[in-house]
Symmetry: C2
């Protein structure tokens, strides 16, 4: 199984702290050695880094840890290959454009006998079930809504329907963002936390690192972090239920 990490905030925030603990799982404290990737929205643009080397020994991961990129929406992934060989085009997250926006997607899990008809604008470059699911989701989204981004409520209803359909083929923990919202779906393992005023000190589970967020934030900041397994040992993470879709905008969990 792979590991997912997502962040959605109301102000551009760096993910160095969370990524440091997360990247440790790519070969050191866990077995996910089959590559990794991370995508940061910056305005409407995306910085996209993928590597089929383990995160723990990747020079690109070193760059991410030492160079604080500030973003309101981040998706990261560490891969344990289940379908498709360890090659660059199979590393998550995947990026596509729809309606003049980038969409970023990462998946943890395994889909069995999943062979959607892909006769639209999106086709996988690699050989993973995950990229197939992403292409299918965007194809159907475009089919449903035509040429324009719908209202958030309509988009959320669509995502709820689609993720349930795809999850019927197996395990579908996923993160998807268009730079505004972060859509998250849980089949098995996903936790979230919203960090907000009053901020406290957090200590990583995977590394001997602690950070006092009150020194780095303003009282208005809200930062939602979504992850396969809690990253810190002294904070209270909420576990998703099986089949839940949760949507985060500006660091807030939207009501169902």
């Amino acid at each position: 199984m792979c590991q997912l990490l997502g962040m959605n905030c109301n102000t551009p925030t760096d993910i160095v702290f969370s990524f440091t603990g997360f990247a440790t799982r790519g070969g050191l404290t866990d077995e996910h050695r089959d590559g990794w990737g991370i995508a940061f929205f910056e305005g409407n643009g995306v910085r996209h880094f993928v590597d089929h080397q383990p995160a723990i020994s990747s020079p690109v991961a070193e760059l991410i840890k030492s160079f604080p990129i500030k973003s309101k929406n981040v998706i990261a992934h560490i891969r344990k290959a289940t379908q498709g060989p360890v090659i660059l085009e199979n590393c998550h997250p995947f990026v596509r454009e729809c309606w003049g926006r980038y969409w970023v997607f990462a998946h943890n899990g395994d889909l069995k006998d999943f062979a959607p008809v892909l006769d639209g604008a999106y086709h996988p470059v690699g050989t993973t079930d995950s990229e197939q699911a992403f292409c299918y989701l965007l194809q159907e989204m475009r089919r449903r809504f035509g040429d324009t981004l719908p209202a958030m409520s309509e988009l959320t209803a669509f995502m709820r329907e689609m993720t349930a359909e795809i999850a019927s083929y197996g395990t579908f923990n996923m993160l998807l963002s268009n730079g505004e919202a972060l859509f998250t779906h849980c089949s098995t393992n996903l936790y979230y936390i919203v960090r907000q005023h009053p901020f406290a000190t957090a200590a990583l589970s995977d590394d001997e690192v602690a950070v006092d967020f009150s020194e780095l934030t303003t009282p208005k900041d809200k930062v939602a972090v979504i992850v396969t397994a809690p990253l810190t040992k002294n904070e209270c993470w909420t576990q998703f239920k099986t089949g839940e879709l949760k949507v985060f905008v500006d660091g807030d969990l939207l009501p169902d």
Copy 2:
């Protein structure tokens, strides 16, 4: 005006030497300080780095210079903004997927009153004429050839036609690759060289660096480098003519 750098080879080759001279132009020996980007094909995957900081002071550019990524097709760009503000989504190269392959595009020049109808699968995320041209080109390519990648001769004829059409709106020096071929079009400034056996020593024009390629290559290697202005002072670069489209595959210039 921006600066372009492309490389097409028959064996994965690192671009550290050429990029070192090229990146120097991003703020030190030339005035192109409005961001930069580079994309490397690796198999069917793409490593894509963009930054709106000047290449000369960008930590990501430092990574590229010190971490030799081997690739058969590379496109790099240093931006001098003519249309669109200095934001990440306006940095070249741009990446899209068509027919299950990534396509990478960078442009140098300025298109006037260029407003193609974009009613297909590709829409600009940023505000540059360049990304518009790229989306238009892919849209028309898909319209012409349907669901499958055509033979190289058909694709080349199409690119010749399309680049001439787009170039009628202004200056259109461009590099485009699908990981197999590197399509290059010149309106004003573009030079190329094919390095092959017997390899010699090359000395950068922009920096005090020389490299003996014979130590780094095998006799079978072929490396085509395409650039806005020659990168070395002791090699013989061939200048493109206005309106020329040249296609490179496996380090060879294809015959017209």
